[in-house]
Subunit: 442 residues, 2 copies
Amino acid sequence: MNAILNETHDPALRSWVASANRDGTDFPIQNLPFGVFRRAGSGEALRIGVAIGDQIADLDGLVQAGVLDTLAPGTRAAIAGQTSLNALMALGRPAWSALRLALSQLLRAGADEMPAALVAQADAEYALPARIGDYTDFYTSIHHATAVGRLFRPDEPLLPNYKWVPIGYHGRASSIGVSGQQFRRPLGQTRAPGATAPSFGPCKRLDYELEVGIFIGAGNALGEPIAIGAAEQAVFGLCLLNDWSARDLQAWEYQPLGPFLAKNFASTISPWVVTLEALAPYRAAWQRNADDPQPLPYLDDASLRISGAFDITLEVAIQSAAMRSAGEPAARVSQSNFRDSYWTVSQLVAHHTVNGCNLQPGDLLGSGTQSGPDADQAGSLLELTAGGKQTIDVGGEARTFLEDGDCVVMRGWAEAEGRPRIGFGEVSGTVLPAAGGLALRA
Amino acid sequence: MNAILNETHDPALRSWVASANRDGTDFPIQNLPFGVFRRAGSGEALRIGVAIGDQIADLDGLVQAGVLDTLAPGTRAAIAGQTSLNALMALGRPAWSALRLALSQLLRAGADEMPAALVAQADAEYALPARIGDYTDFYTSIHHATAVGRLFRPDEPLLPNYKWVPIGYHGRASSIGVSGQQFRRPLGQTRAPGATAPSFGPCKRLDYELEVGIFIGAGNALGEPIAIGAAEQAVFGLCLLNDWSARDLQAWEYQPLGPFLAKNFASTISPWVVTLEALAPYRAAWQRNADDPQPLPYLDDASLRISGAFDITLEVAIQSAAMRSAGEPAARVSQSNFRDSYWTVSQLVAHHTVNGCNLQPGDLLGSGTQSGPDADQAGSLLELTAGGKQTIDVGGEARTFLEDGDCVVMRGWAEAEGRPRIGFGEVSGTVLPAAGGLALRA
């Protein structure tokens, strides 16, 4: 790490925001993730904030107060009065780094305290951190790809291209919502085994997918690929992503062009975007076994072999409607780690652009479902229940797939002995019953 | 047709713009397609225009001149000073219809002539007509699906879901350009037959796809499907779309999640969007054979069975670099008709939203490659050359797939005896050589 990173990551740093110094907080002063918020129900304009302990530092307020005047005017303009992170994302890594350092200096213990610039997270409501132009979902967990492949193709679980191509496909940007999203169980076509004709009705195999979201920063022009060595310069940060999936719709529709209505009814992301600089102490070697092929040169980079991955623990919990009524918290159903991904963030960016495809500030990449090597580390119910053949326990209730009223909560964090925890907060979303009208028509 | 449509489609209507009255023009006064333009090289702000003969009526200028004051203030605000059609698209069908009538009355013979409001198309440059939020590509030609399926699955060319599900997948919005787009031949992974490892380099099987683009107007909220009877109310209009494809990249990457880098390096659309009202005289029955299954109720509508399709002739022509140097025009390679599509525009909209997915103003749907029932009506080189096994003649040159310097020109029009032709103009795009640097690394 360079000098600035060393300074902002100093484990001894403490903040004048007391809650940022508590053990177990996701948001110590070493984190400083970005989001877009306003006071709940206030009707105020949305603005950019940074999470610190259980508070949010209002960046518009800090610019107005003149305490960010050491930053370039372009950086201040990309913060003040902005209702999304897109302008800041477009500035690129040096601007993000300068802003991180300035915020670290403003918020650390000993600096002038500015309580007026804080809003309690408990009083806030969030918007999507960015206007997402295009959303691409990848399939980077070899454990997930193998487990799902086994359900559909027992003789060939992992396809021949998997270890060469970071498999991805385009998703739907318009239906991405921020944590707290509620959506109706989707309606659609399914075909029962052995039936000749499909039937129409509510999805019966509704699932979540535990993913990491990757926000693109500066991007690239059409026709100008991003080389793998420069790929992380194009990434603003990471968030949590739940890519809801309708497994029964998917099985019937996905040949030959891939998932469509099975995926595009809703996807939910966390409000906070954790920068790659904040995650710098939590890098890990990329995952390859000795007998795995070496990546093609455009996907290979010596330094990334050593530190291309991120050591981020990921967790899924479910709270049923009954549990919510009883005041019981969501019950954990699995845990995995982003470190076990076969493809790294930089490989995704290099692959996505190698054909000239342009990425733009605010574009979102999904990592694909993050499942670990063990069966209980699966990032979807499809895997945890072996395709719905066995149930799992959710706070005393049996589940194969999601039921109406289920709230799925995902969390993520990086931690190590002697280092502050860098957390993502959480992303939650709730399943509402299917719409009635159209279902009755079929 | 209702009274307004009857008035704007009156075959006897003539314009004070002389070129709009010439036989064979794509843009008589009965058409009035919308686009976004400025004087080429002027650096002026982009603005909304309507094609009339070989001219463009500057709608911003018409609002400023006060001659559209009969329109609702909201409609004028959605035109004046706008650099895209999104705001106008969001207003919905009644506003579009009122604007069409007002423009028809302003531009018809006998009205006050306003030559100052015209810009010659020869002097204009175009931008994308709308900010495209999400792009979805369908697969509506059963002739294309069968022909392509035969190449990959001789024993089962058409999959069991085809006649039940309007197959679609999400595409890339960021790389969509307007007619005149030039793009580098994409680089990527391919695997030779029998090889164990892939190789990296320029695409060798570069193709076009002849499609109709469908621009969404008012759209729907998340969770609120658009019923098929209301689906056309959500459609602003149609354009031409060339969905460039890298067949060799696609063959290696597309399992199990569909096409990705094979498609997202470029897509090109025509500058003009022809409204559904302009196409009202050219409706046709939807295509079903007696032994085809009846659509599920959410995809069925009595009136659309009679008139759900559009009778639009589509054409592809190619001009090689040598032909261009010699001043030879593009040579026609095939012709098909949108009428032969298995699924209609309204079925695509109803299907896309039945699960609650939200469509937004400016979203683009692609029809998928439009191939007719005869082999020479194929809308791609993949089909015309039987997967590259035979060549076709292009102005004296042999082609299997596209070569560097090839310019592909697509045209579309609706015509019938005694009725003015409703044309789409054209969409053209040119293949540049692959980038050198990365190719050398592999």
